[in-house]
Symmetry: C2
Subunit: 189 residues, 2 copies
DNA sequence: GTCTATAGACTGATAGAC
DNA sequence: GTCTATCAGTCTATAGAC
C-alpha cells in the first residue's frame, strides 16, 4: 500500500469518527508513521486532502450502489441493501459516513470540495429516486408515494439515524430509527 | 439584557451556524463587545459555556413542546407543529438546532454536558412517543405503527433533514425530506 | 520522499490592575 | 466586571538538508 493511500485511509477514519476539523496532520503523522512535514509532500494543504478524500469516497460509493443493483432485483431488496450499507458504515456507533461527516463541517471547505459533496448528494438522490420509481412498478415497497419525495425522506432518515446513533455511541439507535421504513420493504429478491 | 445572556445568545448562534468547536472566545468578544478575558469571568472554561448553553436550550425546548400540546389537540396537529419548529430553527438554511450542533461535535464534551444532551434526546423521544400513542387513538396520523418506532424515525427524519438543508444552505431541502411524513398528518385541530 | 527546524497565527486560559 | 498583558499549547504550512 502506498503512503498516499495509508494517509487517505487514516484521514477517512479520523474524519468519520471525529470530524474533518478535529484531526490534525500531527494525528495522521502518528497514525501512519511519518513526520508532519512529509504529509505536505502528498497533500500540500489540508484542503487538498479534503478534496482527495471526498472524491475517492464518491467514486467508491457509486460502485457500491452499482453493486447493490447487480446483486438485488427488486426495489425493496435494493433499499434494504442500501440501509445495510449505511448501517455498517456506523462501525459500532463510532463513525458516520464521510458524507455526513463533511456535511457537519461544511464551513471549512472551499468550492472544489463543496462541488464534490453536492455531487455526492445528487448521485445518491438520483439513485434512490430511480429505485423508488421502480418500486411503483414492482410493488416491493408498501405505501410508496412520489419517488422524489420518498428519495429525499429516505436520505434524511438514514443520515439522521447515523447522527443519532453516533451521538449515543450505540448502533441500535440506527435500527430503532429505521424499523418503520424496513417494515415497508418486501424483501423477496 | 445581562452580559451573560448576550454571551449565551451569541454562543448559541455561533454553535448552531458553525459548530461549537468552530467559534472562539475571540469571536464572542467581537459579537458582544467585551474583551476575551472578561468572558472567562462569566464562563471560566468553554466547557462551562457548553453546559450553560445546552441546559438553557433543554429547558426552553421543553416549554416549547408543552406549548405545542396546549395549542393543538390532535396528534396530527401536534406533529405538524413539531415539524414547524424544526423547520423554523433552520433560519433560512444557515443553522441547525443546538441538539444537532452538539451531536456532531460530541467528542469535545465531558460528562455534565453529555448527560444534558442525552436528557434532551430522551425528553424529545418521550414526547414523540406520547403523541404517536395518541395518534393510534385519534386516527390523526395515517398508517401509524408502533409508537416507539415512529418516534425514533420521526426524530431521525427531522435531524437528517436539518443536516441536509444546512449542508445545501437551502431550507427547501427540509421541506422535500418531510413531504411524505407531512402527507400522513390529518391536520384538523 | 522523508527528515529537522521553524514560522506565524490562533486557541483557551491566567494574573493582576482598576 | 472589565481591562491589559501574557502564557503555553496547538494548528497549518514552508525552507532546505539528505
Amino acid at each position: 500500500m502506498t503512503t498516499r493511500t495509508a494517509l487517505l485511509d487514516a484521514a477517512e477514519h479520523a474524519a468519520r469518527t471525529r470530524g474533518f476539523d478535529a484531526f490534525s496532520y500531527a494525528d495522521l503523522s502518528r497514525a501512519v508513521g511519518i513526520r508532519k512535514a512529509s504529509i505536505h509532500h502528498h497533500f500540500p494543504a489540508k484542503a487538498d486532502l479534503a478534496h482527495a478524500l471526498i472524491s475517492r469516497y464518491r467514486e467508491s460509493f457509486a460502485l457500491s450502489l452499482k453493486s447493490i443493483c447487480e446483486m438485488n432485483e427488486t426495489a425493496g431488496a435494493r433499499l434494504s441493501a442500501f440501509l445495510d450499507s449505511y448501517r455498517s458504515a456506523l462501525s459500532g456507533g463510532e463513525a458516520v459516513c464521510l458524507c455526513v461527516a463533511f456535511s457537519t463541517g461544511r464551513d471549512s471547505f472551499q468550492d472544489p470540495v463543496l462541488a464534490e459533496l453536492d455531487g455526492f448528494h445528487r448521485d445518491c438522490l438520483a439513485w434512490l429516486e430511480n429505485v423508488f420509481t421502480q418500486a411503483l412498478q414492482d410493488k416491493s415497497v408498501s405505501g410508496a408515494g412520489a419517488a422524489d419525495a420518498e428519495a429525499s425522506a429516505c436520505l434524511a432518515l438514514v443520515e439522521g439515524a447515523q447522527l443519532i446513533a453516533r451521538a449515543a455511541r450505540d448502533p441500535r439507535r440506527f435500527d430503532d430509527a429505521t424499523t418503520v421504513f424496513r417494515g415497508r420493504l418486501v424483501n423477496r429478491n
